[in-house]
């Protein structure tokens, strides 16, 4: 029942329930499989053979297996490339240039306010002085 080109369902492990093709029969126990699973050695006891077969040669390449599965109506997922696409970040550099002149204008306005605040700050100083006197009184009592 198990020969090269036989479609099987894997029964055991993390690939259980996935379809695969027998690529090579290694010995009386083990076969080489590929398909929805990774290309790997597999125990025959961990495979459930189906009625379907595919015409592939022994040790067929991945591309041929992908096309063979397409004929059955099963599309195989391909691995994603590990290199991420480079993203240009020029937009951020432009923004600070626009904000710098705005900051200078903001600095100029508070200078006018500070002149107004100066008389307000003077009455605030005498408030702190009586607190110091209170401390001195406590020292005298001791």
């Amino acid at each position: 029942m198990i020969e090269v080109g036989r479609i099987c369902v894997k029964i055991a492990g993390r690939d259980a329930g996935k379809r695969c093709v027998v690529i090579d029969v290694l010995d009386s126990k083990f076969v080489l499989i590929d398909g929805q699973t990774r290309r790997r050695k597999c125990n025959m006891l961990h495979l459930e053979p189906l009625a379907q077969t595919v015409k592939i040669s022994k040790g067929a390449s991945r591309d041929k297996i992908v096309s063979a599965f397409k004929d059955l109506g099963i599309e195989l997922r391909e691995k994603k490339s590990k290199k991420p696409a480079a993203k240009p970040k020029k937009v951020r550099k432009v923004k600070p240039k626009a904000t710098k002149p705005v900051k200078q204008k903001v600095v100029a306005k508070p200078v006018e306010k500070k002149t107004e605040e100066v008389p307000v700050s003077k009455p605030a100083e005498p408030k702190t002085i009586p607190k110091k006197k209170a401390v001195k009184k406590v020292v005298k009592k001791e």
């Binding site: 369902v9 492990g13 259980a16 009625a51 379907q52």
Partner: protein, 90 residues
């Protein structure tokens, strides 16, 4: 008299030795029950067990087996269901 919620055995009792040298009784939550196979009711190996917060703190791959139906069916029952599915379709 302990608080009313502690009078049944819902919480487990743990004796704790305090820094002052006394032993005090504290009440802690019990572990969840062991998970079982949904078909054959056997105890599932390889499934994390503890209070809910302890299990949630583990990575997902440490909580249950990685295969399909992992943590729900035992491996033998999982094989039977997948084989039956494959034979019905073919």
């Amino acid at each position: 008299m302990p608080a009313m919620r502690f009078r049944s055995r819902t919480f487990r009792r743990v004796f704790v030795r305090t820094p002052g040298g006394e032993t005090k009784l504290t009440y802690k939550k019990r572990k969840n029950a062991k998970p079982h196979c949904a078909l054959c009711k056997a105890v599932l190996p390889g499934v994390a067990r503890g209070t809910k917060t302890q299990v949630r703190a583990l990575p997902k791959s440490a909580r249950r087996p990685e295969r399909p139906y992992g943590g729900q069916l035992c491996s033998a029952c999982m094989r039977k269901t997948i084989v039956a599915k494959a034979r019905n379709q073919a």
